[in-house]
Each structure stands twice: as C-alpha cells, then as structure tokens.
Symmetry: C2
Subunit: 916 residues, 2 copies
C-alpha cells in the first residue's frame, strides 16, 4: 500500500505542476450532473471525486460543491485567490436555487455540512462542521418544520460547539463543562433526555462563552459562518494529528485538502422521512439478495445506536413502494456502475430519496468468493478481475468452523487476542496430560485446553484439543504459532482470565469454571463465551471455492508448499493444494509419546557412547515418520530440517525443578526423588542459556554432537531407500538449520553425505537427495555467495531472520509492540508481515549472491510470512521459487501468488534494485 | 593474515606457471653458500628458504639440500621427472664429500633428516623422518663412535618405527604394542631405562612386523630409504590433516611441499659435544645481555625435558672458550642479518658448532619496547620499523602488575581462563557485600572476590576487589568483560574450584579456603595460586614506553577514545591517552549505593506518576555524575548512552525469588515477608523475558517509558549547563541505544530536543550537543541512510552487532565455542576479533549509507573490538573517525592505529568494495 501511495504521489506531483493561470476553484455537483468526476482525486480529494461520480451516475445525491485542493495550498502559502470566493458564492446561489432554499434563512432554511477530503483517506484527522447555516432565526424555522424543537435546538447547540472548537479554537472542555452542568441541574442521565428549554439555556451559555473567549458574538450571518468554516478546514490540514498521520503514511505535506460543502438532508422531519443502510447482496453468504434495514422519522445514528429496533428493508416496499422501487433501481445501477457489491446509506426527506454514501461492501470470505463467481457469470467482471475480488486472507473462512450464534444466548466472559481463527466448543482441561487422558478415555467429545501459556511440552495435549485458551502471551506466542499451524482455534492472552493450574480452575468475571465445564471460543474475534454453542463446520470442498481456485492457480508462478511435520498434516496439506513440503520440523517428532524419554536420555548422557545408545532408540521411530511423510507426498519434494531447538526445551523447566527441590528439602529431605531431581537439575543448569534463541541450537547442535546429525541423516535416507524399494519416488531435500558460515555448512553437509554413502552401500540402492540450508541469520545472507558453494538450496527462515535483523525476540516483543504500534514506529508486527526495508533487503541480497555462485539454486521461504499475502507478493517479486506455509494458509498463499503474478502481467515487473 | 595468504597465493600462481622446461629440482646448501636464498619460499618452502638464507649468511648450518615444490606437484600429477632423481643423487654425493661421510656406511656413517616444508607453515600437519641412513651395520658404527649403544639402538628403532608408520603405512599402534610389551617385560617405567639388549629385541620385533605387514624386509639400502621417505613426504601433503588445515587457512591445495634432506648432527657423542638454546637479548626485560643455557653430551630434548639441569650459557665461555666466542659472533651477526633479537638452537658435535635454528625471539611487552628503542639507538632499525616491532596487545604488560615468582613457592591450585591479565594477591570473600564491608572496614588490605559467576549486582564488590575468581563462565562472561574494562585481574571458569557461596567456602584439590584466606591470581595465565605472593607493580609511566608512544601517536589517523562511566575511569583514561569518551554507560551509575532502591521503585511503579516520582530521586545523582565526567574530560568529547539494559537486571533474580518464596511457604507461611516477595515476584514475572538480549531494552525502554529518557536527557543537559556556567567547555554527544529504524530515532531524538529546549529556557544558557545512535542491529546498518537523516553521529556497538549478525549470544557462546574452534569453523572468537566478512560488511555498508545521507557524519566504534588490534586496523581501513575501548586497551589501540596508518602509507590504501 505504501508503495501505491508513493506512486500516486509522484503522479500527482507531475499533474499539480500543470495548474494553469485560469484555475477552476469550485466544482458543483447536483441535479444529475457534476463539474468533476471520479478520477479527479488530485483536485477534488477522494470524497469530492466520489460525490461527483455518484452524481454523474444519476444517483440522487444531496447537491453541493467542492473547493479544490489548490485553494488549500494557496492558503498554506498565504495567497488565497479572491476568484475562489467569487466561485464559491456563485455555487452557493446555484445550490440554493436547486434546493429552493436559502442558507440559514426563510421558513425552510438551507443547512450545509462542511467537510475536509484529501486525496488519501485520513480518517478522523481533519475537521468537519455540520448544520452550518443555523442561527437564532433559522433554528426556529427548523423547529417548526420538523415539528421537533428538541432536534432543532440540539442541532444549533451542536453547531455552536463544533464551530467554537474548530473555527474559533475555544477549548472543547469549556463547552462540555456548560453542557454537563445543565445536565446535572436537569438530572438528565442521557443527552436525549434534555428538553428544549434546557437546550435553549445551553445555547445561551454557549454564546456567552464565545463572546467571552473571542470578544465577538457567534456569527449570525451564514455566509460568514461558511467562509470561516472553510478556512478552518484548510487549517486542519496542518494540525499535529494530521501531520503525524502523513509522516507515518508517507503522504506529502503539500498535497492539501479539498473542502466539500453539501446540502444537509434530514430523515427525522416526520413520518414521511426516514433513513437506512443496506447491501446489494448478502455480505455474509454472497447471495444476490437485497439486504438492509431502516427506520422512519429517524436520523442515521438512531439506526446504529440500537435505541430503536430497525425494520428489515423489505418492509419499506409496503410502506413506501415508490421509494423502495427507486432505491432498488438505484442500487442495482450503482452495482453496475462500480462493478461490485455496494454498501449504501440513504435518507428519505419529505418522501424524497437521497443517497448519502455508497461504497464497495465489506464481506466474509464465503461471500467474496460467491459474489466474484456470480459476477463473472453475470458478465459484470472478468475472471482476472474476479481473482482480485477476494482478499487472500479471507479464504481462511473456508477452512475453519464458525460459531453459530443464531438464537443462542451469547455470554462473553472475556476477550483475548484472536490468535488463531475459527471456533471451538468443548470441555475444559488444565494440563496437556489431562487432555490426552480424556481424549483416550473418550468421555469428553471435544476438549479445550486452558493454560497460563503453553510450552513445547504441551504439544501432545494441543494435538488432541479442539481449541486453546491462554491467559498470557501474544499473537506470536507458542500457543498462537502452533495452533495456527494446526488450523486450530486459539484465543491467547485473555488477561481477564485467571488460570490456576494447580487447582485446575479458570476464574473470570467472578465465576469459576472447573475441569469438564463447557466453554466456546471464537478465535476470529478473540471472544471466550460461556457454555456450549453450536458450530458451522469448515467447507474446504465448497464447489464455489474449487471453481475460484481453478481460475487462480494457473496464473501464479510461485510454487506453494506446506510446513508439515507428520503424515496427517501432510495429507491435509495435499488436500489444500500443497505442491510439496517446504519445512518438516523433525523436533516435533521428538515430543511424541514414547520418545521424549529417549530424547532426555540422549541429552542427559555424559559420554558420546551413552548418547549414541539413546539415539539408537530414536532412529527407527524417526525412520517410520519419514516413511509416512514420503508416502503421503508421493513424488512431490519434501524438505526435512535437522534438529533445531535448544536441548533444554526437551527437559523440565529450571524454575520448576528449583522450586520442587526446595519443597522436598523443606518437607521430605530424605526422599530418594530429591537426589534424582538434583542430578537432573545439574544438567539443566549446565544447559541453561541466558538467550536460548541465540544459543546452542540449529547446526551448532549437530557440530557439537555429530552423532545427532548422523542419526537423523540415517533415518531420513533409510526411509527414502525403503520407500523407493517399495515402488515410491521420494524427492528429499535435507536442510541444515541456523547456518551462519560456509564452514558450518561444509561440516554438516559432509556428515550427511558420509552417512548417505554408508546407507546406500548397506542397502545396495541409492536415492537422489539435496543438501541445503535455512538462511535465517544476517551473516548467512551476507555470505550467501560462499554458502551456495556447498548448499544446493536456500530456504529463508524469516522468523529467525526477523528476530536477528531487528534484534527482537518473538517471544518477548509483546512487552513493547503495543507501544510501537501506537507510536507509529511499526506499521505492523514484523513477524506477521515481512519487513521489506530491512529483512527483505537481506533476502534480496542472499538470493542475488546465492544465484551468482549457483545459478540453478532453488530458493524458497518457510517462515510464518510464507502465509501472509503481502509477504507472498514480495517473494514473487524478488523471484523466489516457492513459499511454504502452514496447511491452513495454503489457500491464502495460492491466491496471493496468483494476484502477484497477475499484477505483474498487468503493470510489468518491478526493476530490482540490485543486491543491497 | 588470511588476506596476506591469499595475495601470496595469487603471486605464487603467477610465478608457478612460468616453470620452464629446464627446471632445477634440487637446491644445495652448506659450506657457507647455498643455491637458493631466503626469498624463494615458493620454490623451497619456508624451511628450505630459511636454511639457504642461514647458510648464505655464513652460519654453520648442517649442510643438506632441498627438493623443490614442483616435484611435489609432479608427484601429485603422477609425472615425477627422472631428472629430479639424478639431481638428488648428485646433491647427496656432494653432501657426503662435504661431511667426509657416507650415507649409512663406514665407521662414521652419514645420517640425515627428511622433512617437509611448504610455503606456509603447517605445523605438525606433514611427516618427518629422522636418523635416515641407519641400518644393521650403521647402527653398530654409531654405537661405537658415540660410545653410547643405548642411544644408537634407540635411534635405529625410532627410524624403523617412523619409517614403518610414514612410509610403509603400518599402524603406529602395532609398533607401540611391541615397545610396551618389552618395557613391561623389563619392568621399565621410563623409555630411557631400556638397556641396549632390550632395544635390540625391539628392533628385531620391529623388523619382523615390517616383514609381516609389507611382505618385504625393512630396507637396508640407505638410498632406497631416502627415495621412499621423500615420496612419503610428498604423499603427506595430501593427508586428511593437511587438507583440513589448508582448507581452514585458505591455502591452495596445488602449492605442494618441498623436501629438506639435511645431515644430522649429535650433541651426545661425548664430552666434546653438547647442545643449547639462547637469545641475543633478555626476552623478559629487553636488556642487551646474551642469554641462554646448554648441556654437554646431550640431545636437544634433554635441555627442555628437565631431567638434567642445564648450565647458564656464561659457563660455556670457561668450558669451550673458542666455541663460545664463535657462538657470540654468529648470534650477533644473525641479529644484524635479521635485524631483530634472535632465539637460536645450537649443537656442538665433536667440538664443532652447528646452528640448527634461528628465529626472531618471542619477548614480553616490556622487552619488546626496550629492544625496539635500543635497536633504533643502535642504528639497526628505523623509528617506523620500531613501531611494528611491538605487538599492540603486549603493551598491556605496562598497565597491570605481575606476580613476582622469583624464589617463591608456587603452589598452583587450579588453572582457569586468563580472562583479564595482570596479577592480584589478596584475601578472599564470597559476596559483593562482604567485599564492600571489608573494604570500608579496612581490615583486608587487598580483596579477591570469589564467585560461581558474577552478575551486574556484584558490581560494587568488583569495584573494591583487586581481582576476581569465578568457577563458571568464559572469556566473555560478565566477570571477564567487566574486569577487563576495569583493568583488574580475573581468572574465570576455573572449573576445578567449587565455590560454595552459602558456606562461604572455596574447595579445590582437597583443600578448603575460607573468607580471609590469602590466594594469588595470575590473570595472564589463568593460574590460581595458594598463599600470598609478591607482585611487581604496573609501569604506565615507564620512560621507554613514553618515548615509544611518542613515535607512534603522531602517525595514526584514528582518534582513540575510552569507554568510561565514572569520573575515576575518565581520569585514568586521560592518563592512558584517551582523546575523549566514546561510551559512557549510564546504567552503571544505577547500580551505585543509594541508587538501586530508587531504580527498583521506578521499575515497580504501576503508574507513570509513581515512575516519575522515583526518577526525580535519580535525577540529581545522575546530574552530579555527569558534572564529574564533563569536568574531568575538559573540552574533549563525551558520548553518553541512554539507559540500555533490560529492567529485570536491576531486580532480584526470578529463580532466587521462586525458591525463597517456596521455602517461606513451607516453613513460615504467615511471614509478612512472603506477601512482599510475592508482589515483587509478580513484577519480576511480568518483566521476565525468554531472550532478554532481544527484549525490552535500549531505545525500546525510552519509547515505552519516555519519562526515563526525559530524566536522563535532563540530567545530562543540566550538568553541561552547570559546567559551562562554571567556566567549563563540555562537548557532549547523546547516544540512543539499539536503534533499528528511523522512526525510533525520530521518537527519542524528539524527546531529547524537547527537554533540551526546556532546560535551556529554564537556565537561560545553551550548550552545543549532538544526538546520535549506536548502530548495533543489522537493520540499523541496512537502513543507515534513513537513520542518518536524524542521527548526527554513529557509534558501532559491535558486541551487539556481532550477536545479532551471527545469532549468537555472548553469554552463551561458551556452550559451543570450544567445538567451533576445534573444528576450525571459527578461527577466533568473533566477540574478541571483529568478523570482517559478516559484521564488518554491515559496518562498511552503514558507513557508506550514513555518509551518503550526511557527509559530515562522525563515525566510531565502541564495542570490545575497539581494543583489539586487528579490529582497530579494520576500523582504520574503512575510514572510521575513532575507536573507543576500555582504558586498559588504550595503549593497544593507539599502537594498532599507528601501525595501520603506517602500513597504508607503505602499501597504499585498500580499494573498498563498495557498500555491500
């Protein structure tokens, strides 16, 4: 997006220099035609161009005019052209004629809104004034005409307040103080309880305040109001909020804003007036059904506030058949004009329909696919266009169940982070062991694992659970990352929940939940809900989805692989379209039942011999895993990463041991267990690291303990030979993790090749295999030319590369990420979307250097970024061969890759900026 | 060095292609002249060129000949030229004539050694055969002539064993097995106890073994022995050891080795023979005194083995006045020839002096400076040459005390890592508190702090101690780094010591030492010595040193600054020649007495208000520190880094709290302390990080808690104004740590500038100041062009940059560094010497990008590398403005910078390879 913004800025700079001496300052719209059009965002701003476009499309938009951005620039330079004033007055007169009203005068006074509108949307950054034109006379006319004095006086007091704040720079607090005093005097709880008399008192006080603060009366002359409001909008372009927003979003300070002056319409002028919102199709399902709701004699805020219950739009057909027909005709026309489903707002004033706003409607993933397919069928859009009509992330909706809240009582207990989307309904347990136990026992049909935070030891429990709830940890905590990989629902960091793992209790909102109690989780919103809701299952084989992907897949150039550690995941990955496995993390196999004790024996070994004995037990198990993987992937490539995590991850936690030992010393000092625990602690202390992420892990393990690499290489290669001997065709790629130098690569590659030679000799068969590496350290990227001498492929581990490039631990970022996002230092979490300026530049460097040494080098990515659309597009742009992501991100990655390829086809490839 | 090797390889490749058809294969040396000379390393190898050089210089070198490297290359190609054989035989005949001996024949048989010798030294990688020429006849002649049958038979059995191993490829073990059986039979403890009869038995068994293994007899023909040995040396070029060594050291596999055949001489042929070693000057002090020792009727190994006590060389003058005179004349001549102090070996055979080896002698730093100055005075070398005659690291010797072991009983208790050089003798204590207590009390005149490992909390105790001993931790552990900074002696990771901090006991070698016991530490060797040795104090004002630095300083271009946190360090730094402070770590000020409680209050605060209240207490203390610093540095620049470490470093350790709480729960569950500790624990848990190095620290602290930056900026600026108002001239540079993006830099720079404006307004005075940043993250280096928009200077924090570029934690590297050094993956600890390929390339990129944006950007380095000579030379090469290092590295850095500048002057600047 940033890039897009910058390109448009360049275009704009070019066009703005051509402002001629005979500049047209004011652009009228109304009565079916406009001076401007939708493409004139540079001149009219986004809003102004939209109003012109809608008017030209024949929509009944309240008329008005736009003062163009050049005026704002002139204002900044202190050279406002008097011609603009003249044009503005002419436009106002035209507006008055068209409406048969006069600004702030007569029985039926014209009121207008004055709004900013820059080229790029800057929501809430600049100022707006409504009800402009009201004064002591006009307010009485409005009261009479609307037959609603409360509304009229409230509108007037709002004008004075907004005008006082925005135009006259009077502190808002002073108005609020007056308002609150009167409310207190009147014993009113809500604003709308204030009666006309009280509102009149407030108006009087407000006017006094204006006099006191500025030395002048609140202007009764509507034209004076208008000029002052216009200039205030110009000034608001330069306020601190707006400047900060532009800096963060790389928007040029000299663009300026346009000012839109538009007749106000009211839906609350009687029973012949009303207001509503709607969609041209169902935004939840995509069905082609006119969809919306309205209220008669009401203002827009009444529809959304929930004070009154709105009516379904179908009722309007009976109440006002003509208006309803007009609305249907207009909205279909809008859909045709904008060639997309529309989300619109309308007001009926005295029986006359006005369209206030229309825009492309937000929709669910299911709806997006359905609408895209329907529109192609209807001839509205092409297949290529359809591919852009679905946000890649939305496809997740097809892969996970959703809560079915229809008619259910939804009691939200807490809201945590939406760490992994989908829904889960189940009985709670508090330990991984309990989860496994009840899963095997079969007495709980669905299990939700509730933890303070999860650790790698919990993996068994997480596998059998339907969903995970944690009270601590962020979007990239262990629970979040692992569940996203599993496509399982997770609500993380629900701080309102107290999880007492000792007592096996979940306490929240004064309630206590115990093992076996039912809760429901919504991983898409982060809600934790009491009790047992129904769910709507996932629809990965939805025929619309299948057709849609059938359009997208042939377009893309990137191959899409999955991260999968066990045959079950591999099968699922193939179901979702994986073209290989890009990352099999062998350590996940180590945590399985019946293995962890051998892993621990290996770690606790004091000699190489003891270590080899323990490894011997693991060998056949690992081999069996790999046989399963190779079989399920048939002849697709499978990249297997050797052991990566630090060894202490497989041991009990140091703190727990220390506390347990202290407790035994205090209570049972003769317990034989004490001695045992002390021995264990000694080894845990030995292995303890201050910064485990930067410690003895990855290839460093294999270099310090070559027998581990030997065992793993043997298991992989024996498995491949076995599968080949049974008629299979395995394509294996052995990946050495955490390489930082060619020397490390040479060392580990030599071990693998030596074992391969042994295995092939023993078995009398050979299989093809490649040895490559993760590029996940800056030094690996910087010396990629050297590393490619030995490595036959690169796979970017962008999680670790992001950690080291930024010097930020993924486990600890939540200590300051909120402050960073708030201050605009990060636009997004760099672990979610690849940082192109820093991490991305290292990736580009490494690709260039690597291919320079080895032109056929196969290059992919296997971090979490492999499933993030923006990052996938970056990977396409810099020429990677594939991305690998969790099975549940495969659809997203496939679509993002197709969009990237199509975009390139349409606009031509980016020129790469070389190696740095 | 690597670069030097590669350049020479290129030169060599060029020259080796010019090998003409009339190649000369064999180069003779002896009788005062040689065919080759010292510059012919390509052809003759290092050793061969050296022998030629010594011969040409008129030294009485045992004569012989060198078969040049081209033969080895021919051997590798399987195309050995018969001409070489012919030349070899001719050379052998010449040798026999010169010696009046015949190879392996007659009463006085000629014996030769056959040794490899490649262009680059590859110590121990290839094979050597001694005593070649011995056979069943010659051994008897040797026995007779030497009147030492034991020696003769032992020489013969050694020949068969070496020949069997190297030439005939018979496993060494089989020889050793025979040898050991006979030894057992004879009940001999030591090899030299074997009598001639037993040795003859061994020879017989050896010969049988050769027959059994090869089907042939051990060759009795000396010429056959010679050819076979020569070929074996050629083959040894290709053994695995040698190949690995070459790979690691980037030596071309096709260079090949030369073969040196040299007459053997024996110092044990009777009372008219002898052997010795010596130096032309005193290697400890540099005094111009002939220095050495010798033994009559002995072999070289007898002198070094310590079985017999050698005599001082002055005795030789009385015993063999002629030989002594000749030796003195020769060695002075050698010194003149090589223009440096010589370390030599000689043998006297039958009254005739032979020089076996001469090389530039190793010496202490004190001696190096003294010798360099003397040699300039003597007209032997120029001042510029003198500057290169001292290793920069050696200057450390002047700055620290040394143990005076003369006449002392030295009982070594353990040997740990020589973490910080120098010596310390003192009474031991086991906690920082005890150290401080006894320091204040004054009852211990010198204190040694003994810990398992030190933490930042120990800093107070470390400050008052003379030396530190730890049982855990490596060369870059907290104890090591901090003591090196203080110039204090430290022995770290002395694993043999058990430090029981609870009982306050040090247990080692079955002895127990308690508080108040005396020990002595040698930080230069890592020795822990029982009792109270004397020390020789540091000599920073040694007149020779002052003169020497007076030559070096004017030459260098790099400015040299010091890392100093408190006025005391700053004063010391100026004494050692600092031209500014490059790094003042403000957090060190936080640990001082009377402050840590306010720091903790700040951290434990729940609201910004509470935090500000705590900070208010710290402000005047910090201000006072800075006033002291500015005063002691006068108008030199002072770079002050804002708070950097994670907050939990200032709190008690989590594990200790957990255990203490458990213990109280078990024993005193109603203790009010329990509640207090639980509150503390909760905050410690909140702040706990998995990878603190990558967590909430550096500028992230200042962004999350701007009030910390505000307090520090205020303290700095108020101090500067205060000093200026008192007539001072402070030059301050405020440094924001751990910047990874321009957004962070903008954020913190704005805070500092806002506070500056406030302070200047309040005080009515302004001071100049700069705001810059540490570049210590890869992302900062990669986006340095952006960061330089805001940063007015860069200081490379290469400790952290090394950590993140490699993905290696300095605290944890010791888990695998030994394996890495052993496998040749690292040539050196990257935290000690800057990695130029990875970290260095980021530094270069950042300098180029930064100066591109801001051509006047001041750029320095402030990591540990700032005091490492090789790294300092790199900093010079890439054009930094200054390096900053611990005060005790200042001399080293000054000299290294001078050498770099001089080198550049002599060879011209390196061509930089651009930004990447």
């Amino acid at each position: 997006m940033t890039q897009g913004v910058m390109e448009q800025q360049l275009a704009d700079t070019a066009s703005s220099t051509s402002t001629s001496a005979t500049t047209k300052y004011v652009y009228f719209f109304g009565g079916g035609q406009a001076d401007g059009n939708g493409r004139m965002k540079d001149t009219l701003g986004g809003k102004g161009a939209g109003l012109a476009e809608m008017t030209n499309a024949g929509l009944p938009v309240p008329p008005g005019f736009t003062i163009q951005t050049e005026s704002c620039r002139e204002y900044m330079r202190g050279q406002l052209n008097p011609q603009m004033d003249a044009e503005m007055h002419a436009a106002l007169e035209r507006l008055e004629r068209m409406q048969g009203q006069k600004l702030g005068a007569g029985d039926n006074p014209l009121l207008v809104s004055v709004r900013s509108g820059a080229k790029f949307s800057m929501p809430g950054m600049m100022d707006t004034i409504l009800n402009l034109g009201l004064n002591d006379n006009a307010v009485e006319a409005l009261a009479k005409r609307s037959n609603n004095p409360r509304f009229a006086y409230d509108s007037y007091r709002r004008l004075i307040q907004m005008f006082g704040d925005v135009v006259l720079d009077i502190p808002k607090k002073k108005f609020e103080h007056i308002f609150d005093s009167v409310k207190e005097r009147e014993k009113a709880h809500y604003d709308y309880e204030l009666q006309p008399a009280a509102l009149k008192d407030i108006i009087a006080e407000y006017k006094k305040l204006v006099k006191k603060e500025t030395g002048k009366e609140f202007p009764q002359n509507p034209l004076e109001q208008l000029s002052a409001a216009r200039d205030a909008v110009f000034r608001s372009w330069q306020n601190e909020r707006a400047k900060t927003y532009r800096r963060i979003n790389h928007i040029d300070d000299w663009l300026g804003t346009a000012v839109n002056v538009q007749a106000m319409v009211f839906g609350n002028l009687g029973d012949n007036s009303g207001t509503g919102v709607g969609f041209t199709r169902n935004p939840a399902t995509g069905e082609r059904i006119f969809f919306g709701e309205y209220l008669m004699n009401a203002q827009g805020e009444d529809v959304v506030s929930g004070v009154r219950t709105p009516m379904p739009i179908s009722e309007l057909e009976k109440a006002m058949p003509k208006v309803y027909d007009q609305l249907r005709t207009i909205t279909w026309k809008m859909e045709k004009h904008y060639r997309d489903m529309q989300d619109f707002e309308f007001t009926i004033q005295d029986g006359k329909l006005y369209m206030l706003q229309t825009r492309n409607g937000k929709r669910t993933g299911l709806a997006a696919v359905r609408v895209a397919i329907d529109m192609v069928r209807e001839g509205l859009i092409t297949q290529e266009e359809a591919i852009f009509r679905v946000e890649p992330n939305q496809l997740y909706d097809f892969l996970v169940p959703r809560l079915d809240e229809k008619g259910a009582k939804v009691e939200v207990l807490a809201t945590g982070l939406p760490a992994s989307p989908g829904a889960a309904v189940g009985q709670i347990v508090f330990t991984a062991e309990d989860a496994v136990k009840h899963h095997h026992k079969g007495d709980y049909t669905s299990i939700i694992l509730v933890r303070g935070e999860t650790t790698p030891e919990d993996i068994g429990g997480m596998e059998v659970a339907s969903g995970i709830l944690t009270s601590r940890g962020g979007m990239t905590s262990h629970a979040a990352v692992v569940t996203r990989g599993m496509g399982k629902c997770c609500v993380a960091g629900a701080g309102e929940c107290t999880v007492d793992e000792n007592r096996k209790e979940l306490r929240v909102k004064g309630k206590t939940f115990r093992q076996g109690d039912w809760i429901s989780l919504d991983g898409t919103t982060g809600r934790v809900i009491e009790g047992k809701l129904k769910t709507i299952p996932a629809q990965p084989d939805d025929p619309d989805l299948v057709r849609f992907m059938g359009w997208a897949d042939p377009v893309r150039k990137l191959r899409i692989r999955a991260n999968a550690d066990v045959p079950r995941d591999a099968k699922q990955a193939r179901l979702f379209g994986a073209e290989g496995i890009g990352l099999c993390r062998t350590e996940h196999m180590f945590f399985a039942e019946g293995r962890i004790e051998h892993v621990r024996a290996m770690i606790l070994a004091h000699t190489e011999q003891e270590r080899r004995a323990a490894l011997k037990h693991l060998l056949p198990m690992q081999r069996q895993d790999f046989i399963g993987l190779f079989k399920s992937m048939e002849s697709l490539p499978v990249t297997i990463r050797l052991l990566d995590p630090p060894l202490h991850e497989f041991l009990p936690q140091r703190e727990e041991l220390l506390v347990e030992i202290q407790h035994l010393e205090d209570t049972k000092p003769r317990s034989p267990k004490l001695k045992e625990l002390r021995v264990l602690l000694a080894r845990v202390q030995e292995l303890h690291e201050v910064n485990p992420m930067l410690g003895l892990r990855g290839c460093r393990l294999g270099i310090a303990f070559p027998e581990i690499t030997e065992m793993q290489a043997r298991a992989i290669l024996e498995a491949a030979v076995n599968v080949k001997n049974h008629g299979g065709d395995p394509h294996l790629e052995i990946m050495i993790p955490l390489i930082g130098s060619i020397e490390e690569m040479r060392n580990q590659s030599a071990v693998v090749k030596r074992i391969a030679a042994q295995v092939f000799k023993e078995k009398g068969t050979t299989v093809d295999f490649m040895v490559g590496t993760m590029i996940e350290l800056p030094r690996a990227a910087l010396t990629a030319d050297q590393i490619a001498e030995e490595a036959e492929f690169f796979s970017f581990g962008t999680n670790d590369l992001t950690q080291t490039t930024f010097g930020i631990s993924r486990d600890d970022i939540n200590h300051f990420l909120p402050a960073y996002l708030k201050a605009g230092i990060f636009k997004q979490d760099p672990f979610a979307t690849l940082d192109q300026a820093g991490v991305g530049s290292l990736v580009k460097t490494a690709v260039a250097k690597g291919r320079n040494t080895r032109p056929t080098l196969k290059v992919g990515i296997c971090g979490e970024h492999g499933g993030d659309p923006e990052s996938v597009k970056f990977c396409h742009k810099i020429g990677l061969n594939y991305v690998s992501c969790s099975p549940f991100r495969l659809l997203t990655a496939r679509l993002a890759a197709a969009q990237a390829a199509l975009q390139e086809k349409q606009t031509g490839p980016d020129v790469h900026s070389g190696t740095c």
